[in-house]
Symmetry: C2
Subunit: 349 residues, 2 copies
DNA sequence: TTGAAAGCGATACCAG
DNA sequence: CTGGTATCGCTTTCAA
């Protein structure tokens, strides 16, 4: 079923059917209705490939995120969901590409073969070859996260520096003096992941400002690593009374480690960090955290990209978000239990 | 940059370039190398729309899942991730479509406009108009989950009946006599969601077989609902000593409710269910559960679909999986505390 | 082993 | 207001 067949049955030219559909040229009511009847009868829908070939637009956006092997973090998945829904609302389809490098086959297909009109990139690194690549090609794209020098590019991001600092200040205000930082996996830090770097920076500087004793850790993206990491923390400094984390996937393990060490939240230990609300609310006690507004970020990224597609050559725009800390139940005043002096160090049993 | 330009620069016909690329016709080494050099020089990649138009295949599969408004469950997202990775490994792209009905715009675009070669459907209902629609059109598709009468269709599914029954038997073997069932939200049950129905069935029958006293509940897909649901359970029958759940998103809330009621797992209460392992391992104590093998299911769905695409007309195939229960730490013998008689009912404070 | 040309199914320009 | 036709970039048949 194609446009020629519709034209034949309606007794008009193919171009007339096309114009009746697009409205880009006036068509008499009579003709339009005649055409519409045929279309409804046959359930005709124009072929997307042909249309894309003819007018150079696919009405599809690419969503590029690194392959995760076994598991994605909840946050990554939240972004995917929000981007897809926002795009659907704007009548765009979303093509997924699990690629971490600009040389990945899937990445090449998306861009090189022009399968998409534009792309949204996730999991940005401070130095990101994918971003540079796209910028060089002047390929319309928006990043969720920002590189070291984001000037001239389109992005929506979180102010991880400020967020981590806010966590530190919150803990310092509560009287905590010895605080640990639980980051994403070391391999991601080394690879230059933005959130890991800026978060660490913000934490370190704010802690120095407040004169806190700190230790920083990298931690795998899973509960078992979280538990192991917590054991290390209490082993290396049993007097630690609080931690800040960016690692939502490890959160459950951190909690478990605390429970095993006999530390009761928030009485003798406080936990806070940067985590999407749905995960913060899953743990008990619920996590006091700067909530990552995944839905808003996905929606804004889509809006920016569509704006860029509709108005090529416009000045780069971006959104830097700094969500407030939501007070829940995982932080409390330090010293409630003076734990380190009344019990043996954990992690040694 | 198109195939004509490559042909011109290499001094050959367009068809020769095409054949050099596809290998569907012998091309002399000399010619091929000449062409390849030009291609490498210019970084040429064939246009996907043109190719799709010419040969009728898009090398893209559609992944259809219901719009979730605010949040997807972790399991849904796990499926998405696994399908995307499996497809990428087979050089297929994945187009996402958040649509619950066959009338959704996104659904129509995907199929009607032939944006995809085939589709994978998630969140199947016992009576599913999307599945019927696709079957009528003979559109290549595979479902994750199965309808009431899955004969003649392609699917990969979980034997929820057997899984729920296995949970019941596990608890009964441990001596539990009063057991609750925490299902997905009522609205999904009413809508006929397969897992909710078959799971409930399996639970009910197995419980009857073992002579257990049971209560069944529907519960919203979020921690707050889980907590509320647990309060109701203990309020309506304080002597309940165990529960089975399909609702992974509520799990954190169920645990919290138990903690608030002073029930210690697994000493005075046991929890088990059907949940993907990564979520089962997030909670403390880790959940003894039939692990949903999301990755395997996604991979198998992709394999089945590609098989169906490559060999049209083949006999329908399917995989029914029954993963075993992984013993972790959330279940234990009943009666360890004889809780109901020594403390007031929970949920009344 | 290679070239020429006819589609694939739309869009949009040029005429009338 | 409508029709005819070139065009998008690739695949594949037909001929040499």
């Amino acid at each position: 079923m194609n446009i020629g067949e519709i034209a034949r049955r309606a007794g008009v030219a193919r171009s007339t059917v096309s114009y009746a559909l697009s409205g880009k040229r006036p068509v008499s009511d009579e003709t339009r209705e005649k055409i519409q009847r045929v279309i409804d009868d046959l359930g005709y829908r124009p072929n997307a490939s042909a249309r894309a070939l003819a007018n150079g637009r696919t009405s599809t956006i690419g969503l590029v995120f690194p392959p995760a092997g076994n598991h994605y973090t909840g946050m990554q998945l939240d972004f995917i969901g929000s981007v897809v829904e926002a795009a659907a609302a704007r009548d765009y389809d979303v093509l997924l590409s699990p690629s971490g490098m600009d040389s990945d086959r899937s990445f090449q297909r998306l861009l090189g073969e022009r399968r998409v009109d534009g792309a949204i990139l996730m999991e940005i690194r401070l130095e990101d070859e994918r971003v540079d690549h796209l910028a060089r090609l002047d390929f319309p794209s928006v990043t969720i996260g920002r590189t070291a020098r984001p000037g001239g590019t389109w992005w929506v991001g979180l102010d991880h520096t400020a967020l981590a600092a806010a966590c530190v200040h919150h803990l310092a205000d509560l009287g905590h003096r010895r605080v640990a930082f639980v980051n994403r996996p070391e391999q991601l830090l080394r690879a230059g992941y933005e959130s890991a770097h800026r978060g660490l920076d913000g934490f370190t500087k704010a802690a120095a400002e407040r004169g806190l004793a700190v230790r920083t850790y990298c931690c795998g993206d899973d509960p078992a690593s979280g538990q192991a990491c917590l054991e290390r923390i209490l082993h290396e400094d049993p007097a630690t009374t609080a931690l800040v984390t960016l690692n939502e996937a490890a959160l459950g393990g951190l909690y478990r480690g605390l429970a095993h060490a006999g530390r009761h939240l928030p009485r003798d230990f406080s936990v806070t960090g940067v985590v999407a609300s749905r995960w913060a609310e899953t743990v008990t006690p619920q996590l006091t955290a700067a909530d990552v507004p995944a839905e808003e970020m996905g929606r804004r990224a889509v809006d920016l990209l569509i704006e860029r597609l509709d108005h090529p050559g416009g000045a780069p725009r971006h959104h830097l978000l700094t969500p407030p800390i939501s007070l829940r139940a995982s932080t409390g005043p330090a010293g409630g239990a003076s734990f380190a002096e009344t019990t043996p160090p954990a992690g040694t049993s």
